[in-house]
Symmetry: C2
Subunit: 112 residues, 2 copies
DNA sequence: CGAATGTATCGACGTCTGTCAATTGACCTC
DNA sequence: GAGGTCAATTGACAGACGTCGATACATTCG
């Protein structure tokens, strides 16, 4: 392989990280739960739609995803339980937003 | 199996990101496959052990993980197929190393 | 009130996944 | 070669997961 520079300093300050020291059981389970929420194409598309629009109603996502209403509801629940999104009910609708801190924590876990 | 090459430069600059614009099906599937490899506590501990020691023999990981030899082999295969680690056979042993570029690509997909 | 609409839950189904015992394969050493 | 050691594969099994139709729950509007 060609040369590679290691940006060691950066943001490796807090939080459990995969690549620093060996993880214990609890840290591994916590991170695995987060990554499991990202391990499905439909959920990733859901997440990207929400992130791109800042706030999205469930009813807006069903059609572009090509999935049934129960399926969309199931996936939003999974993402919410993983702490990646939060929903707010206004009237008959539920509006979802990204939780940037949680995504950041997962991202930082992968810092080299 | 058609071989597809990813130049390092492209990996460093391009690549799908979850939070920028809505993902299409292919991008979502590609990322989901990567995150799925991270979605298991045993695999995360495996990965962190390899990353911490730079190079690790399979035989060294079986005991601290408390898993059977076939199970460890199964997980290393999963990680390798996701492109996160590579193995080199030397004599009777297989030594595993991290593939930083692949982890970086997944990490960058989560950039806000 | 009752009808309509958006969401969540339930039940069922097929598929995927994690696990291990048993076996096979590769390699080393005597 | 024979026997020993490490890794990969196979087969089997239980549990988790993605999906959808049907249904129940909430809220708004006549």
């Amino acid at each position: 392989m060609s040369e590679r520079t290691f940006p060691l300093v950066d943001l490796a300050e807090c939080c459990p990280t995969v690549l620093g020291a060996p993880l214990d059981d609890d840290e591994a389970a916590f991170l695995a739960h987060g990554f499991a929420a990202l391990a499905d194409p439909v959920r990733l598309r859901l997440l990207s739609m929400i992130a791109s629009a800042d706030e999205v109603c469930s009813c807006e996502m069903q059609e572009p995803l090509g999935k049934s209403q129960p399926t969309v509801s199931h996936h939003t629940k999974t993402l919410a339980e993983a702490g990646l999104i939060v929903g707010e009910k206004r009237g008959r609708w539920v509006y979802w937003r990204i939780v940037p801190e949680r995504l950041d924590a997962l991202r930082r876990a992968l810092v080299s």
